[in-house]
């Protein structure tokens, strides 16, 4: 195949855009001026391709090239305007397809990490041009840049995820003014690339074809059998059953369309294609019954390559009787009229699968006795268990795993251990056990557990099990239980923590957007990129605004609680006026208010403060450096 070429204008000069013979570069040669104005772009440097959508009468191809020495975020752009009139679209498509294939090949060969997304890549895209992503859709989700730039994909993701949409809108509204929408979008999506990728993959999946004939169910209306059939269904029937297409071709001019279908659905042929058994009572049809004996596969080219392991033809050669065995009856080819339903289902599945592009394996690969075939023929069941292929994790030094902060006390203990004389401690232990725990289980447990209280009081208090020690230990246990109960009590107030649900939702949203801005702040702050300094300061502004928003929510919550408090007080007054008794007011039982908000948002507030403090410290340091220079 000759490399594709097409006449295209670059910077309003006419010329020819040609793919090189080895498909490693693409060059544009101006029609006038000879080779001097030639532009040659290496495929390996091309980062992106964009083409005007098919609906657009203008045919343009935009090539993004990243020269190896250029910084990451400044790809050069070449726009070629195809000028071949009616032929322009075809030429452009040919070049684009060839290019994307070459790019794909170059990418897989490189296997290099994709370049980090450039800040504000979304801006670079001119919305007026509305370029459609041109490189084959297969790789779209592998490229972070495309994912970040594809506004349509993002919109569709937002539509499918209302939570994300809510947060997106809220963050968009509260973003600092200095941050453009484009910057904001690119930042917002840069941390959600995985969502975009999943969504892109999800969208690219399509429903496959299905068994049409089995879904056609006639219904009876006014004693007339009726069946609705759509154009798509006819299309599918033709695809799946080439025989029907043949019958249709040969007969329709003679029969009317409606007549043909009504006869077909009542015919034996229909039953046969559905895999049902024919019976004598079935209506005969002079025209269609001719085709009953026809090859149901029609002219469908059979996949020639059958794995040897499954190929029944191999059994034909196997003459079992020669060795004195019984005739081999299993796994033999049999006449088509046996078990028609299985045959029909098999052939149908075959046809449906034939229309699906195989994701694995190359259909053009040579067929023959290669290594794969050899492997195929091996009887895997006869092999032993395969050895587990594990990745070994080598742990070098485990000593640090256990040492807690209390390193000193551990060292102290080790020192004490080292001082001990092993023989002495062993003999002490043995003697003690000998003395207190006789070998035959006659240990006086009662005496061991409960010390003699009669002796010196001071001494007996030092004994295990003395009254004092028991008191101390039970005090510890009860204290632990008290702590524990206090903790479980707090967590039992679930739900909205006494806030009204509207306020709680607002709090939730505030939290989400604050987290989003914190995220963006840290990304910019830690990027170490001086170009983003302006953006950073605007993000800091938005952080302080986030703090204000939290405070606003807290104030509203307090106001809400105050209303409740007032109501209770008023009620108490009324009760007092009516009965003359002062009821006990328990205002602390009213939950909610500022306290709860601050409690819930505590970590967030702390995070905001930390971020701001870090920023201030870094700012002060840089200022000092700047003035020192």
């Amino acid at each position: 195949m000759a490399p594709p070429s097409g006449s295209a204008a670059y910077k309003k000069k006419d010329g020819t855009l040609t793919m090189s013979q080895d498909r490693q570069s693409i060059s544009w040669i101006p029609a006038a001026g000879g080779a001097t104005g030639t532009i040659t772009l290496s495929v390996s440097q091309i980062t992106n391709l964009q083409q005007t959508p098919a609906s657009n009468p203008k045919v343009m191809l935009k090539i993004f090239v990243l020269p190896p020495d250029a910084p990451d975020n400044s790809p050069e752009q070449y726009v070629f305007n195809f000028t071949a009139g009616a032929n322009a679209r075809a030429e452009a498509d040919a070049i684009k397809d060839a290019l994307s294939a070459a790019i794909q090949a170059a990418k897989t060969a490189q296997a290099a990490p994709t370049p980090s997304p450039a800040p504000g890549a979304g801006e670079g895209m001119s919305t007026a041009m509305a370029f459609a992503s041109a490189v084959s859709s297969k790789s779209t989700w592998d490229n972070d840049k495309w994912l970040k730039g594809d506004v349509e994909l993002q919109q569709s993701l937002l539509k499918s995820d209302p939570n994300l949409q809510r947060m997106f809108m809220e963050s968009l509204h509260t973003k600092p003014d200095t941050l453009t929408a484009g910057q904001f979008m690119s930042q917002f999506w840069s941390t959600r690339i995985h969502l975009l990728r999943a969504h892109a993959i999800e969208r690219s999946q399509t429903r496959g074809s299905y068994n049409v004939l089995s879904t056609l169910k006639p219904r009876v209306e006014d004693n007339v059998t009726k069946l609705n059939i759509s154009k798509e269904q006819i299309q599918l029937i033709f695809n799946q059953h080439p025989l029907v297409r043949r019958v249709y071709d040969e007969n329709v001019p003679k029969l009317s369309e409606a007549q043909f279908w009504s006869r077909f659905f009542q015919s034996r042929l229909f039953k046969k294609l559905r895999g049902e058994r024919l019976s004598e009572t079935d209506a005969t049809d002079a025209i269609l019954d001719k085709y009953l004996q026809a090859d149901e596969h029609g002219n469908l080219p059979r996949e020639a390559h059958v794995p040897h392991f499954l190929n029944l033809e191999g059994n034909e050669v196997n003459n079992s009787q020669r060795r004195g065995n019984r005739p081999d009856l299993d796994m033999r080819w049999s006449a088509p009229d046996k078990v028609p339903i299985i045959r029909t289902l098999n052939s149908l599945s075959e046809k449906i699968m034939a229309n699906v592009a195989p994701a694995d394996g190359d259909p053009h690969a040579p067929v023959g006795m290669d290594e794969d075939t050899y492997n195929e023929l091996q009887l895997r069941d006869l092999r032993g268990d395969e050895e587990a292929d594990r990745v070994l994790l080598n742990i070098r030094d485990q000593s640090r795993f256990f040492s807690a902060q209390a390193k000193d006390s551990e060292d102290e203990q080790n020192r004490l251990f080292a001082q001990q004389d092993p023989e002495k401690i062993l003999s002490d232990l043995r003697r003690e056990i000998e003395q207190n725990l006789p070998d035959d289980g006659t240990a006086p447990l009662g005496r061991l557990v409960e010390p003699d209280e009669l002796g010196d009081e001071k001494e007996s208090n030092q004994q295990p099990g003395s009254r004092v020690s028991l008191q101390k230990s039970s005090a510890q246990i009860i204290a632990a239980i008290r702590d524990r109960r206090a903790q479980t009590d707090v967590s039992s107030t679930t739900g909205t923590y006494g806030l009204s649900s509207g306020l709680y939702d607002r709090l939730n949203l505030t939290h989400a957007t604050t987290t989003e801005f914190l995220h963006q702040f840290w990304q910019a702050f830690l990027s170490g990129n001086p170009d983003r300094a302006a953006e950073l300061s605007s993000l800091v502004d938005s952080l302080s605004r986030a703090m204000e928003r939290i405070k606003a929510v807290a104030q509203d919550a307090e106001a809400e609680r105050q209303v409740e408090v007032d109501r209770k007080k008023r009620h108490a007054r009324e009760v007092m006026e009516a009965t003359g008794k002062k009821p006990r007011l328990n205002l602390s039982s009213i939950q909610g208010g500022e306290k709860v908000v601050n409690q819930l948002m505590g970590p967030t507030i702390q995070a905001l403060e930390t971020a701001q403090a870090k920023y201030k410290a870094a700012l002060a340091e840089e200022m000092k450096e700047a003035s020192a220079q």
Partner: protein, 376 residues
């Protein structure tokens, strides 16, 4: 006449709450016990534990106990220990041979001993006997060589015993539990379904620990594996810490919903055992447990033991580091890791000059990251 049908007896017994198996892992590290000698000698601690075991046995006639010693050079069974050399031999049906040995005859000295409840007595005899043997078999060099205790081995012994007993119990109690056994692991410990009739043997582990943790570092992975096995089988690990402190034991009891107590007053051991550790899983559901509330979950880096807010985690072995590693090699597993342009010195002032001194590695433009740091 159906009322006198004898099967009724079995029907009701099948509805009885399942018995509990209490496995005590006793840390017998001689070093640590020698330090404790003044406050709580080993023999008294054993006596306390025996009383506790008796209490457990008394709760239900079918309750079982097991005792494993986690010694300095090995883990050993204290009870049940099938030792043919033991003077008091038990037949398969649990009979004691009548022609008792000389030691057996000595029981006459204490008139109360002959009337001791049999299960108590068997446990006491075996535990004390095996402990003496264990101590006798320990040599000075053994103790000298090892400051720590064989906790991993002891936990593994305990778990395998629990497994065996659970299967045996399930088999003995027939169809009710058959479905549960076939489903996966043996029915042990707590249960997920919440139906009391189908639960298996209730197992739990009590670790009486005296050793510190740092010396058993080389057992880290086996211990963690045992802990995860317990978590999976719903076996709570209770920890009774007499001295020292071990982070991993705290985490063990927390992960398995057991009770962790670090005793401030080791002399009151029995009080602790009886108050805190006696209830079985079934009762614990209705109780406020005295476990500590402040388990330390903060991540500390592996390189300097600092508690970190922002750390770097090895994607292979999950070690935590407080700062980017030199040339990206994980200190623990040696994997070569790539670090993105994270951690560069923050630039807060826009500069005209392109050239900028960086603290960390080459400039951000030259180190592309495939994906930005994922958000929290």
């Amino acid at each position: 006449m159906n009322a006198v049908d004898a099967t009724e007896h079995y029907e009701t017994s099948a509805r009885d709450p399942a018995p509990a198996l209490l496995t005590v892992v006793l840390d017998t590290n001689p070093h640590a016990w020698a330090l404790l000698e003044d406050s709580l000698p080993l023999s008294k601690a054993i006596a306390n534990i025996l009383v506790f075991l008796n209490a457990h046995l008394a709760c239900n006639y079918a309750n079982e106990v097991a005792v494993v010693a986690s010694h300095s050079q090995k883990a050993a069974w204290l009870y049940p220990h099938e030792n043919p050399a033991t003077k008091i031999s038990h037949d398969a049906d649990g009979d004691v041979s009548m022609n008792g040995s000389s030691t057996n005859n000595n029981t006459t000295e204490g008139p109360g001993q002959v009337n001791k409840y049999r299960p108590f007595r068997i446990v006491e005899e075996q535990v004390t006997h095996n402990l003496r043997e264990l101590m006798a078999s320990t040599s000075g060099p053994d103790v000298k060589a090892n400051n720590s205790t064989m906790m991993a081995g002891a936990l593994t012994l305990a778990l395998s015993h629990i497994n065996r007993r659970s299967i045996a119990w399930a088999e003995a109690h027939g169809a009710d539990t058959a479905a549960e056994t076939s489903g996966g692991g043996p029915p042990s410990g707590g249960h997920a379904s919440g139906t009391d009739t189908t639960e298996g043997l209730q197992s739990r582990i009590l670790i009486v620990s005296v050793s510190g943790a740092s010396d058993s570092a080389h057992q880290y992975i086996p211990i963690m594996n045992s802990i995860f096995a317990c978590q999976r089988l719903h076996i709570p690990i209770d920890v009774c810490k007499l001295s020292g402190d071990a982070v991993f034991l705290q985490q063990a009891s927390d992960a398995t919903k057991g009770i962790y107590m670090s005793l401030t007053e080791p002399r009151g051991l029995l009080q602790y055992l009886m108050m805190a550790f006696l209830p079985d899983q079934r009762s614990r559901r209705h109780l406020v447990l005295p476990t500590r509330v402040d388990v330390d979950f903060r991540a500390a880096c592996f390189c300097h033991r600092r508690v970190v807010d922002i750390g770097f985690v090895c994607s292979i072995c999950l070690s935590i580091f407080c700062e980017p590693l030199d040339n990206g090699t994980c200190l623990t597993c040696g994997t070569n890791l790539e670090i993105g342009d994270y951690g560069a010195k923050p630039a807060v002032v826009a500069r005209k000059r392109k050239k900028k001194k960086r603290v960390n590695g080459p400039s951000g433009t030259a180190t592309p990251t495939p994906t930005p740091t994922p958000g929290p």
